[in-house]
Amino acid sequence: MSFQGTQTYIATQDLQVAVNAAITLQRPLLIKGEPGTGKTVLAFELAKALDKQLIQWHVKSTTKAQQGLYEYDAVSRLRDSQLGDQRVHDISNYIIRGKLWEAFVAEPAPILLIDEIDKADIEFPNDLLLELDRMEFFVYETREVIKAAVRPLVIITSNNEKDLPDAFLRRCFFHYIRFPDPDTMARIVDAHFPNLQKDLLHEALTVFYNVRDVPGLKKKPSTSELLDWLKLLVAQDLSPETLRSKDNRSVIPPLAGALLKNEQDMHLFERLAFMSRRGA
């Protein structure tokens, strides 16, 4: 069982090594990288490539580690007790399984995606140390131990908003997805738009990397933005010449809204356009 990327996901060699190490040694894999470089998509593609079920746990600022294990719905039980429902005598009726529990008991072992772990409270990773290490936990209410028969592959993504604790990191493999170089990028685009004209692709990539090189951008466009933009270009049937034209209005690339998501960045571009027009 090894991962070489898929038809729609180009994995660089270092990523493949990291993923395969995580699969072989059954340790969690922590993925970091610029937004839009395909951290979350990796889990989806991995599930597709290995033909496994994907269980997603999207972490928010309010997410607690306990919610991933199970929750005890005390309020329902309270209500049932006051209504005299017979279910109330079995506490297991009120235990709601979390994503981790699902992943531990699913057959065959699925892939568990813990998305954006850095969004949660600073103690969140610490609370999951033992659970991820031993892949088991204890349910106090019913006094049973939930243990994974086969360890699921755990993919964790982080956007680096918080530092993760050392003890947590020690248990993971780590991979930083770098922004792809133009060659890899061409392969990625090719995987998504196999019928794109060669010259249009070339011009589009040139424009794209030029935009990324503009100093002072708040949010540099990334792979996912490039793919969106190309989709628009194809839909609008723009010619490579439009992209290439060096007349003084073209400093702002066509359909720039797909690349620049920030009005300050747009403003910066308009200023550049204005300056080059004046220069001409």
């Binding site: 090594v17 190490a21 970091k32 020690r170 991979h175």
Partner: protein, 394 residues
Amino acid sequence: MLSRFFFNLREAHVPVSLKEYLTLMEALKAGLAQFSVDEFYYLSRATLVKDERNLDKFDQVFGQSFQGLESALDADGEIKAEIPEEWLRLLGERLLTEEEKAAVQALGGWDKLMETLKQRLEEQKGRHQGGSKWIGTEGTSPFGANGYNPEGIRIGQDRSRHRRAVKVWDKREFRNFDDSLSLGTRNIQVALRRLRRWIRQGAATQLDLPDTIRSTARNGGALDLRLVPERHNSVKVLLLLDVGGSMDDHIRTCEELFSAARGEFKHLEQYYFHNCPYEGLWKDNNRRDQRIDTWHVLHTFGSDYKLIFVGDASMSPYELVEQGGSVEHNNPEPGQVWLNRLTTTFPQAVWLNPLDEAYWKYTHSVGMVKQMMNDRMYPLTLAGLDGAMRELSR
């Protein structure tokens, strides 16, 4: 061999532990990297490095441990001869074709080149342009950028990378993540979050489920709702910013810190001073207008405020020790008296200095201020901020 690599990593301050080393062993035993050095590099990187800030250090150590390069580590394991960033950005990239190689005299092999590079680096002190020996740009020396010696080592040239010729770890592409350098708004915010301490204060608005259950049970089953206050960010900060004079260079960094800080705290008070706080501070950057008595500040805010100075602490020593030493007015009391008053009123205080830490020792007053702050002076880098925040949240 491997254990030496492991200890080299530790000496270079890459935080690796035994656990990771054993994981690497396990991975190697499982046959994950059998046929190529590249795979071994990727595998050991995924296993041993857990933070992109350390990737650059890892690359260096990997290069030294497995390349048989002349080691840049001295006896204590400190990396010496730090090569300036702009030179290094593309170090290790060779730009030769076979014909060119034959055509022009070359120095004789990669190892030799690296060795000579090390030597030159030690000989050379400043930036250099032209010429045929020193490292710099536009020369004919094998070292440097834009030159035409085919076996040259390119240093800090932006274009024309060849994909094949380079060892991956020698590209040092992760240099930007090294935390001793960059400080953008985003980074600052990350560091400042350390300051947040969640304390419950204010009105009770959230349902406290455990307490509700407990008191309902005590009530004999009749529902009894219990509420707790929502969590607030209760860190209080008093920010004193140095403006004007020698700080003009650093004003941008400071403004970033400042704008980041705005969103982070419930109570944030900021005042400006010039060089050293005296009997008056300003609320407005338009500084000579409304001067606020420092005594007033000292009496207004409680000692639970955390005091953060931002300033380069570069001034004439007289400003600190003599009355009337200030550059812009006649101060009845010297700066250090006021510094002392501020730090006694607000015991939790740090001084953030935008000057590069390496230059602190060249300015006398920096050392003096540092001493007055009981060594609580930190550089305005991510690592420095981390240290300062840890100090403040003690």
